[in-house]
Amino acid sequence: MSENITVDYLTRVEGEGAFEIKIDLPGKIDSIRLKIFEPPRFFEGFMVGRKFDEATDIASRICGICSVSHQIASIGAVENAMGIEISEQTRKVRRLINIGEHIMNLTVHVYMLAAPDYLGYESIFAFKKEHLGLLERAFRLKKAGDFIIEVIGGRSTHPMSIVPAGMSKALTKEELDLIKKELKEVIEDAVQTARWVSALELPDFNRECEFISLVADKVYPLNEGSICSNNGLKFSPETYKENIEENRIITNHSHALRYKVKGRSSFSVGPLARVNLNFNKLSSLAKKLSGELGFKFPNFNPFYSIRARALEILHLVEEGIKLADEIEPGKFESSYEIRAGHGFACVCAPRGILYYEYKINKDGIVEYVDIVTPTACFAGNLEQDYWQYVPELLDLNKDELKFKCQMLARAYDPCFSCSVH
């Protein structure tokens, strides 16, 4: 007797995805398919022939939720290709706008996409009075993140001030002070977030796998360091494709390309990977709180990612305050020449490592672009998780099994639009 367990349209994740589990005999799984039916948009195709100074604005449109990450990665690859050096000032301002996006993203995931499952709601729209306080906390944190992006970039989705060699707008002292003020007001909310996630009963699931993230010498990485793993990988963006294998043969009309570590298997990226590999770079308050709350890193339970997100939110709020202090108002970009080149960049987007590669000709025209998004990276790993997790759930009724499977997908916080682009 065989049975099909399907969820036709995964909810509370970004983009179009589904899963289908075929069970042959009780207990024997025939196949598990994570099907990403998001229609392809062909960014890597239509960006060819566009100019280097608009590439980043175009690439931003791959994702409305992590537009800043795409811009940071894209501008990094453009500047790498054309040999453009940026000032320390620019580096800090870009890190600050990036921090704003991470705070916003991680908060939206914890409270709006994941929390309903733990509280027994189908969405935040259904929250009853006793849980509105949580939503208010979420809005405060999210607003602080959005505010940073808006002040620096003009608007919080597809901001506009990241340009080759610098930023199009210099920050004033008033703006930096406002950013500091907004962040200081949400430190306590970030602490409470960590306390709140510590009380959640996380589903019990453990599968050792390879985790990949940027790792840097002195900072918690957003756009610094090398690409590393818990299995000994350490490489820089230029050698991304020598280390990560891309599969351009798709099956079942599932439109995202698939990735694995060359010679090995699928891998995970995202907040859990980052904290697993960079715990000691978190702020002392975040580390102290983690210890007090009994968090254990490194951790191989994908559901544990919600705790990683909470620690990151706290760290990034604190770091944002420090950065806003360090940034000198008023100085910005350097000059540059248009020249041909082949450039690479890899940043930590909220959902994991994001890779950009450009070939630019002497007139500044893009001749080749390759983008590897975090969700495309971890889709294979999520599927591998299902192979181990679903057998553990076969005692549950069909609805409960589907629910737990959706929860696992949500723990990864997929962005299927990005994965296909």
Partner: protein
């Protein structure tokens, strides 16, 4: 309140999901909005999505595969009032850049087995397939426009959405005119306002992501850009960006080529 809430649905098509995110940008005001709106179908934010008759159906994204044509028609049938939300739904957006390329080239760049890929040759705005009742422009659209739409529907009046050019917003903010004073190729004079002149306010010439203002005088602006030193290819690229489908920008580009 005795009046029944507005039943709303949002369908995502080929999109970056940035448009529907603007609803979340209302933050605590979402709770106010929920007093008059019931989002019955919005898959990214809800787990219980209900196929029903809706008062307002929102279209996010451009239509770029066969299944999405069917889904769009399905939404149209069930919506009293159909709204195209954002640049992709109104003018094709960035993803309509697909239309200016050969689909086989695009497929071959990404996939080894292109026969497995479900895609149309084009990415078109919803209005190519169904009649649209209202359009909210922008990449991203302004969350205030979304609120204005709901409030107007609730009050039974026409929504008040910007019809003037971005220049008005720059003037209101005392921005230095980038075209006149800095000789930068700013598209604000032909672009629909509603973003608060986001680009010029941070020193970036407007790149027209909200699409053309009505009666946009595009060709003369293109000539000005040439005088500023842009090449013909540069000028074409500028107008072949966020609103390259069924718009004054498309017309100007085709006339210019």
């Amino acid at each position: 309140m005795e009046k029944e809430k507005i039943k709303a649905a949002l369908y995502k098509f080929g999109a970056c999901a940035g448009c529907q995110l603007q609803i979340l940008k209302l933050d605590e005001h979402i709770l106010d909005l929920l007093k008059i709106v019931d989002f019955k179908y919005i898959v990214e934010y809800r787990s219980e999505n209900i196929d029903d008759e809706y008062d307002i159906g929102f279209i996010e994204g451009a239509i770029t595969c066969q299944e999405d044509i069917e889904r769009l028609k399905f939404l149209k049938k069930r919506s009293k009032f159909l709204v195209a939300l954002g640049a992709c739904a109104t003018y094709g957006g960035i993803i309509a850049l697909k239309n200016w390329k050969n689909i086989n080239d695009l497929l071959e760049r990404v996939y080894e087995n292109k026969e497995e890929v479900g895609t149309l040759d084009t990415a078109k705005p919803a209005s190519d397939y169904v009649k649209i009742d209202e359009s909210i422009y922008g990449c991203p659209p302004n969350k205030d426009d979304i609120v204005e739409l709901f409030q107007s529907y609730w009050l039974g009046k026409t929504p008040s959405l910007s019809k003037h050019a971005v220049c008005v917003e720059c003037k209101a903010k005392d921005n230095l005119c980038l075209l006149v004073h800095k000789e930068l190729p700013c598209m604000g004079s032909v672009t629909r306002a509603g973003c608060g002149a986001a680009g010029p306010s941070v020193g970036r010439p407007c790149y027209g992501c909200r699409g053309p203002v009505s009666e946009a005088n595009v060709l003369p602006l293109m000539e000005i850009f040439i005088k500023l030193g842009l090449s013909k290819e540069d000028v074409v690229r500028k107008f072949k960006s966020y609103a390259s489908c069924n718009s004054a920008f498309e017309k100007a580009v085709r006339g210019y080529l």
